[in-house]
């Protein structure tokens, strides 16, 4: 634009002398002059016309374009989102913390970030972590320090929080009964003056920066054992720092970009967010040779337990032969933090609008997840189903790769599961050994697409039926006499303590001592003998070589099995008909294995290990293997304790429990 404004003025001046000479020369040639003038006028006209055309063209083009893009290709979903930055550009946060017997709340700049006044819930110390630069809530936890071991979990959590974060504490109901000195000292080191002296039913609030200043603390002592301290309300101000100070300076790579996003949002994941030498988020385990399950989709069923999910995905991504491309995490509900964890590992996550309640909600989530898995991977013949509270063995995929062809070829199989219900530290021994069992253990298993599409999906329990999906799958109408293949030593470990059907006591009694394989590349033994008929031959061979134990001794005693290694023993118990598990249940109880319902049986036969010997239990006369019993042997009968009859409710272990 500038050019043509200046030029006309400058150029004639420059050219004046040349022009004058030329003009006088031509003075007398009027005709020529006329011609020149006409030429110039014509030239001007042409310019004007071209100009007008240009303007028209430009306008038309612009108009067409607008029209084009306006129609057809517009997304009908016009979601106008005004991004809200509640605490941006503010230097100071107003924090309000309330502690009382029946209610706690925390408000940051007028926004309530925690409110709990539910009865019989949320007892203990509530902890909130805020980002020191933005004021966003990064973690919210409650530790029921009235109960044992919860203080240890709190110490663990507080240690994982990065320096500089803002910590808010408040007690609901009672938080001191099992608050040990270690925990009190940690609180003291955070700057709390009151923590070391916290006692029964005291109310307490505290706001401070980890490794820095204290913004406020309030405390109300309980006057007597039977009463609570007065409610306390702490109002204080917190000064925010700059974003640069709040973040680590990792090299700028794709992985670190994911890490940065994650670490600026959530807290409580420890070293993955440490500025110095953070834990890797990519594992690159060895690939498997001839991996038969490389293209099998893996569905991870998750709820809102992001810490569990984090632990689970770490172990899954470290397993040899894993293919991250095939993993999808299904989250039951629109929870942000589990999704953040999924994105940290660069996996794909899908959220599911919760349908129904309790067990039915889990069951509907399962159905939606399985349907979606087979939709997303239409070529897949199988799907691996995992839950968020499982550790995955390093040879999980190797185990499946060696056995999956059985599921394809043997119609009498229902599933392959990584979990042996009876595989405890003292009852499992051989990582290369597989069994066939009539019960479906779940907890890391492979589902055949045809089974799901043709049988299970069309009649899956509807939302109003409050059934456990796994109980439903175990029902004879669904199982139709088919069996599952399981390993002797489990390839998954159930670490979840919090859950729908789960609590600390239950976990300690039935899950903690479960054996978990840590040996890589285990070569499975005799996989072909797991086929329907071959397995029968195998069992008969085993029973043939087995030594019959002395039935006069107490089977619960250790001395029942001789102090040998690597031998095969058999015992016979009373089992009047197929569903008579009276003696088995008592035996399971005294052997400290799963006794809440019958698991791990195959035609009235159980296989486990005792003192490193293979130990077979045959139910007589219901089992077809009863014929192996020498006539002289009297099957063991154990009577159930009379008082407990009918009083024990059998808790089901649904897998994706929700808190």
């Amino acid at each position: 634009m500038d050019e043509w404004k200046h030029n006309p003025i400058i150029k004639p001046h420059k050219k004046r002398s040349w022009y004058l000479a030329w003009k006088y020369k031509l003075m007398n040639q009027r005709a020529l002059r006329k011609l020149c003038q006409t030429g110039a006028v014509l030239f001007l006209l042409v310019t004007v016309i071209v100009n007008i055309k240009l303007i028209l063209d430009t306008r038309r083009a612009a108009y067409e374009e607008e029209e084009e893009s306006a129609q057809d290709y517009d997304d009908e979903m016009l979601n106008v989102e005004a991004p809200r930055h509640p605490v941006s550009n503010k230097k100071v946060l107003d924090v309000e913390v309330y502690s009382s017997r029946s209610k706690v709340y925390v408000a940051v700049d007028g926004t309530t970030v925690l409110e709990d006044e539910a009865r019989e819930q949320g007892r203990g110390i509530h902890v909130i972590v805020l980002n020191q630069a933005t004021g966003h809530v990064m973690a919210k936890r409650v530790f029921d320090t009235y109960s044992p071991h919860e203080d240890e979990a709190m110490v663990l959590f507080l240690n994982m929080v990065a320096r500089g974060r803002i910590l808010i504490f408040t007690i609901k109901d009672e938080g001191s009964f099992h608050l040990k000195d270690t925990a009190k000292n940690v609180l003291k080191s955070l700057g709390s003056q009151v923590a070391p002296f916290l006692s029964w039913r005291d109310m307490w609030t505290f706001v401070g920066k980890k490794g820095g200043e204290v913004y406020g603390e309030k405390h109300a002592k309980s006057p007597a054992l039977s009463t609570w301290g007065d409610p306390v309300l702490l109002k204080t101000e917190v000064h925010l720092t700059s974003v640069e100070d709040a973040e680590c300076h990792w090299p700028d790579t794709e992985l670190n970009r994911r890490r940065r996003r994650f670490c600026s949002k959530v807290e409580g994941y420890g070293s993955v967010c440490s500025c110095k030498d953070p834990t890797p988020i990519e594992f690159n385990p060895d690939p498997l040779k001839d991996n038969k399950v490389f293209d099998v989709p893996v569905a991870v069923i998750a709820g809102n337990r992001p810490n569990y999910l984090y632990r689970m995905l770490r172990s899954l991504l470290s397993a040899q032969g894993v293919n991250p491309q095939m993993i999808t995490v299904f989250i039951d509900g629109y929870y942000e933090e589990p999704m953040d964890v999924v994105e940290l590992f660069g996996l794909s996550g899908i959220q599911h609008t919760p349908i129904s309640i309790k067990n039915a909600r889990v069951s509907q989530h399962y159905k939606a997840s399985l349907t979606a898995t087979f939709n997303l991977f239409p070529d897949a013949k199988f799907a691996v189903v995992l839950e968020e509270d499982l550790d995955i063995s390093v040879d999980f995929f190797s185990f499946l790769s060696q056995s999956i062809h059985l599921l394809e070829e043997d119609e009498s199989l229902y599933c392959i599961s990584a979990w042996n219900d009876q595989g405890y530290e003292h009852t499992a021994e051989d990582p290369s050994l597989l069994y066939r069992v009539e019960t479906m253990p779940g907890l890391g298993w492979v589902l055949r697409k045809s089974l799901y599409k043709d049988e299970l999906e069309p009649k899956w329990p509807t939302p109003e039926k409050l059934w456990d999906w796994d109980m439903w799958m175990r029902m004879p109408e669904q199982r139709k006499g088919r069996e599952c293949i399981i390993p002797d030593i489990s390839r998954s470990y159930h670490f979840g303590i919090v859950g729908l059907n789960m609590n600390g006591y239950f976990h300690e009694a039935y899950f903690k001592k479960h054996k978990f394989n840590t040996v890589p590349n285990v070569q499975l033994k005799n996989v072909e003998s797991l086929r329907k008929d071959a397995y029968e031959a195998e069992i008969h061979r085993l029973l043939g070589e087995a030594e019959v134990l002395d039935h006069s001794k107490n089977p619960c005693e250790d001395s029942f099995v001789p102090d040998t290694e690597g031998k095969v023993y058999v015992m016979f118990i009373k089992m009047e008909q197929e569903a008579d598990f009276t003696t088995w249940t008592q035996l399971a109880k005294c052997l400290h294995i799963w006794d809440l319902d019958v698991r791990g049986n195959h035609k009235g036969l159980w296989r486990l290990f005792r003192k490193k010997n293979h130990f077979l239990v045959v139910g007589v006369p219901a089992s077809p293997y009863s014929s192996k019993k020498p006539p002289s042997v009297m099957p063991v009968y154990m009577e159930p304790p009379a008082k407990e009859e009918g009083a024990v409710a059998v808790p089901a272990v649904a897998a994706a429990e929700q808190t």
């Binding site: 006028v41 001007l44 310019t47 057809d72 491309q325 599911h352 939606a368 939709n375 069309p458 509807t462």
Partner: protein, 461 residues
């Protein structure tokens, strides 16, 4: 003096004009042709400069793609059309240098490639390299239709289209996804509010106005215009497929609303019937596809798809429609060979033809033949005992693909009109007792078959 002034003025004006003209040329060349090459490149005709630009852009793009090991194949209808003319020659010719740039220099605004989603890992690195090479790019994301089933799932949005722009040419990369009916699907191109509507003239794109369904193509690696590129093995059949590729998604949201009002029947009988109907439909589709006969879901089966995205459990049969012009005498023997004996045959090819085959376990397969008139389409019905003829009228319709019980099948694109013609405005209300002679709202009495023809037009087995 006056005259001198006049000359001076004229000269000044001329100079100004000259500057103006120069500016306009500059404007044409650098501003407009780049921003909207489409509109203006045509006016400039096939200048060699422009031609080689296209070739260069394609070459750069192929380089970019192969450096990231991403397999793409050419689906540009324009170029495939040109290739198809010389297909024999191209197939047989070896890698020798080609004398002229025949295909990739052809005048056009875009070159379109396809990418199988399965074949790449969504690496961000690709886009960084693209930027370094001078490409501007745009991604069109949208909801994943594979999650749109009966349950409320929402995943991360998936990329449906990529556009890479360099100078005055753009590459349109269409992402194809595998769907459960064992076919490939690409999504529609819809711009979100914040997107640059003028990035390219979107309306001129060959893919994206509607979603599309395709068979998995067999590919062929060819060398054309000195570039190695994968193309569909049979370009002409691909182009033919492309012209009828429009895909309709089932209306899952409406189906959910329907089941809210009328809960689904989950009884053993219903489950069993659905299973049988599904396998019968799979068998019928296989048989007809092998014969190359185009068919669509009709009557109750179409209603089931449209209203509840599933087989209606009390419908007792599977209904298909076929245009009479697609009729083949082999149809009956082919079904018999597939294990479906003929149950009855009404009418004749010239009038009101209707076939019925007996599937396993009491499920019947009804095939209605449709006759096209100038402003409507009809099919016929015959009452066996009286020889009465009926006529069912439908407004004109075209065929679209859809996915139904894990099958890629046709349905009328104008499904609502079709269903309404058949079932009236209250089609949303389930009716369990259906009389095919009176209940349909489009039925017309059509006289009686002459008695001497009965042996031919009423055959019951």
């Amino acid at each position: 003096m006056q005259k001198v002034n006049k000359n001076v003025v004229l000269a000044v004006l001329s100079l100004t004009s000259l500057v103006f003209l120069l500016f306009q040329l500059y404007y044409y060349k650098f501003y407009l042709s780049q921003k909207n090459g489409a509109v203006f490149s045509k006016a400039r005709g096939s200048q060699s400069g422009q031609d080689s630009t296209r070739w260069h852009v394609v070459r750069k793009f192929l380089g970019l793609i192969s450096s990231h090991n991403i397999p793409v194949y050419l689906i540009d209808p324009l170029i495939l059309g040109l290739i198809d003319k010389d297909i024999e020659q191209i197939r047989s010719s070896s890698d020798g240098p080609s004398p002229e740039c025949k295909y990739f220099c052809a005048p056009r605004d875009f070159t379109t490639f396809a990418l199988l989603d399965k074949a790449w890992k969504h690496e961000v690195g690709l886009f960084r390299t693209a930027e370094k090479m001078g490409f501007q790019w745009l991604t069109v994301l949208n909801k994943d239709p594979r999650l749109d089933g009966m349950d409320d799932l929402s995943g991360t949005e998936i990329p449906l289209h990529y556009i890479f722009k360099l100078a005055s040419h753009a590459i349109h990369l269409v992402v194809f996804y595998e769907r459960s009916g064992n076919f490939l699907w690409h999504g529609p191109l819809r711009l979100k509010q914040h997107m640059d509507r003028k990035f390219v003239p979107f309306r001129k794109l060959h893919f994206g106005r509607y979603p599309g369904a395709y068979e998995k193509p067999e590919l062929l690696l060819v060398s054309i215009d000195d570039l190695k590129v994968q193309i569909p093995k049979n370009p002409s059949s691909f182009l033919e497929e492309m012209s009828h590729s429009r895909f309709l998604e089932c209306r899952y949201r409406e189906a959910r609303a329907f089941f809210q009002v009328y809960p689904d029947d989950a009884s053993v009988d219903a489950v069993e019937f659905r299973k049988r109907a599904k396998s019968l439909l799979h068998l019928a589709a296989l048989t007809l596809n092998n014969l190359g006969v185009k068919f669509w879901l009709s009557s109750g089966t179409c209603l089931g798809w449209y209203r509840q995205c599933n087989v209606i459990p009390y419908s007792k049969d599977v209904d298909l429609g076929i245009f009479i012009r697609d009729y083949k005498a082999d149809i009956i023997p082919a079904f018999q060979k597939a294990g479906l004996p003929l149950k009855h045959k009404f009418g004749k090819v010239e009038d009101s033809l209707e076939l019925s085959f007996q599937g396993d376990d009491d499920v019947k397969l009804d095939i209605f033949f449709f006759y096209e008139e100038d402003d409507f389409i009809w099919n016929g019905g015959t009452q066996a005992k009286s020889g009465k003829k009926f006529k069912y009228l439908f407004p004109k319709f075209t065929l679209c693909w859809t996915e139904f019980v894990e099958l890629k099948v046709h349905v009328p694109c104008e499904t609502l009109q079709y269903v309404e013609a058949n079932y009236g405005p209250d089609w949303k209300v389930p009716v369990k007792t259906w009389d095919w002679k009176n209940s349909p709202s489009n039925v017309q009495y059509n006289g009686v078959w002459p008695v001497d023809e009965w042996d031919e037009v009423i055959q019951i087995y």
